[in-house]
């Protein structure tokens, strides 16, 4: 192990060097604060800093080290006079991992190093786990991106916006046309985030695209989606989802809603004419023999837009812990003022409500404009 030892007294450094050699460690010696900061380039595993270092004090060196992402996981031990009250105040503020009393004794130095092995090990595991988690997130994001790349190019009357509660949004929004040009639209909110969500999104999108291109009805598609998720996912993992079928001539819409907030069918005057409530369990919970694929049908004459959202939107909480709520959503839709379209109105109101806070669940909003 490489141990950085910063001390202005040559005698102390000599004593420490003997201890380290006997223990099989390598000493990186520094005689002042500037020297100690430069020595970080040698990537020490453990750092000892005398608080009375010339140029930059040990407290300040420690504070600087702990503020750098690259070095903050290297344990830092301060060598300080323990009867000094101000030293203790500075000690607790600078982020050090331990202290040793002066004057130094070889057996104390030896014991301290052995004791800190455990901390080094914990920090290393933490780093490894973090690295592992980042790799998984990258993989999950790649999978999600590939899924959405499989659909036809953007359809101009479909608006979609999402805000993630973490590294990326785990809500899945996909659409595709049947051979008869009916449009199928799917929004799904998977339990969990990241890789857990991406793993369920794969079979869901496979079934959705294949069956839509095959011309199956949305009832058949949701039954198959439920079966797939029921078979694959453990109890407790499911997908709250809605599947819509817009007629090729946009005269009718069929909707299956299992676990998402009500879809809102809005007229040109911004009045909500229909609320399409969830009457079903989310996908992946019901035993396939008991699954209910019954759909709701609506005429689209007089309907100007359809608003679909995940529960992350209605349950978004502001800094006071207040929920966005279905009522507020209805009020924003009903607002007659302003030129903004419904989609932009909801989006900007949600962002204003959150005041820059990250939502605690993924927020998704899809608006179908039927102008």
């Amino acid at each position: 192990m490489k141990i950085l030892f910063a001390h202005s007294d040559a005698g102390s450094l000599k004593m420490v060097e003997a201890v380290l050699l006997a223990e099989g460690h390598e000493l990186i010696a520094a005689i002042d604060g500037t020297d100690a900061m430069l020595a970080l380039q040698e990537n020490p595993d453990l750092i000892f800093l005398d608080t009375n270092l010339p140029e930059i004090s040990g407290f300040e060196c420690c504070r600087l080290i702990k503020h750098k992402d690259q070095h903050r996981h290297i344990p830092v031990v301060l060598l300080m006079p323990t009867e000094d009250a101000t030293a203790w105040a500075r000690y607790s503020e600078c982020g050090a991992d331990g202290f040793m009393e002066k004057p130094l004794h070889p057996h104390v130095v030896r014991a301290k190093i052995r004791q800190l092995f455990k901390l080094i090990d914990i920090y290393q595991r933490l780093d490894n786990n973090q690295h592992h988690a980042e790799q998984e997130i990258r993989l999950a994001k790649h999978m999600f991106d590939s899924i959405t790349k499989r659909q036809p190019k953007e359809i101009d009357f479909l608006n979609f916006w999402s805000l993630s509660a973490g590294h990326f949004c785990g809500d899945l929004f996909i659409y595709e046309r049947t051979p008869d040009h009916h449009l199928h639209i799917f929004l799904g909110d998977f339990t969990g985030h990241g890789l857990a969500a991406a793993m369920s999104a794969l079979p869901v999108s496979d079934v959705f695209f294949a069956m839509t291109r095959n011309g199956n009805s949305i009832g058949e598609i949701v039954s198959e989606l439920n079966l797939k998720l029921y078979e694959i996912m453990p109890t407790g993992k499911f997908c709250a989802a809605t599947l819509l079928r817009l007629d090729a001539d946009y005269a009718k819409v069929e909707i299956w809603n299992g676990g998402l907030p009500p879809l809102l069918l809005v007229n040109r005057q911004n009045n909500i004419l229909h609320q399409c409530e969830s009457f079903h369990l989310p996908l992946g919970i019901a035993e396939p023999s008991e699954f209910n694929s019954q759909i709701q049908k609506f005429e689209l004459s007089g309907i100007h837009s359809i608003v679909i959202c995940s529960d992350g939107l209605v349950e978004a909480q502001n800094s006071q812990g207040e929920c966005f709520g279905e009522e507020r959503l209805a009020q924003i839709i009903g607002r007659k003022l302003g030129e903004q379209c419904i989609f932009n109105r909801i989006k900007s109101s949600t962002l204003a409500f959150l005041e820059g806070l990250e939502p605690h669940d993924d927020v998704s909003l899809a608006v179908i404009n039927l102008d």
């Binding site: 079903h280 369990l281 990250e358 669940d361």
Partner: protein, 109 residues
């Protein structure tokens, strides 16, 4: 994680005769996984308990992971001869149950 202070789930267990009640308060989400599991496992393994009640009156927030945990608990209970009841959901949690169709799976009062 957002910048709000982390909200914990508190679980208070009381047993009267053969009914164990897990009184939950606070934030019921993924972070409560282990604590919730430990709390119900004791009751499931306890032969003198025949009814398990999850009191949700003081749950301020419940997400889909929490719904998942309730589904897992339901599965455990179904493998025994015990009963499971979700009791007194607040307005917010009761709306979440409605949307998720949980009234079809659980006895809720």
């Amino acid at each position: 994680m957002n910048s709000l202070t982390p909200k914990k789930l508190h679980i208070n267990v009381s047993a009267i005769n053969n009914t164990a009640t897990l009184h939950l308060s606070g934030h019921f989400s993924f972070g409560a996984h282990r604590e919730f599991k430990n709390a119900y496992k004791i009751q499931i393994d306890n032969a003198s308990i025949s009814n398990i009640v999850i009191n949700l009156a003081d749950v301020q927030y419940l997400d889909s992971s929490a719904l998942g945990m309730l589904l897992i608990l339901r599965e455990h209970v179904q493998s025994t001869s015990k009963t499971l009841t979700l009791s007194r959901p607040s307005t917010i949690t009761s709306r979440t149950f409605d949307i998720a169709g949980f009234d079809q799976l659980f006895s809720i009062n």
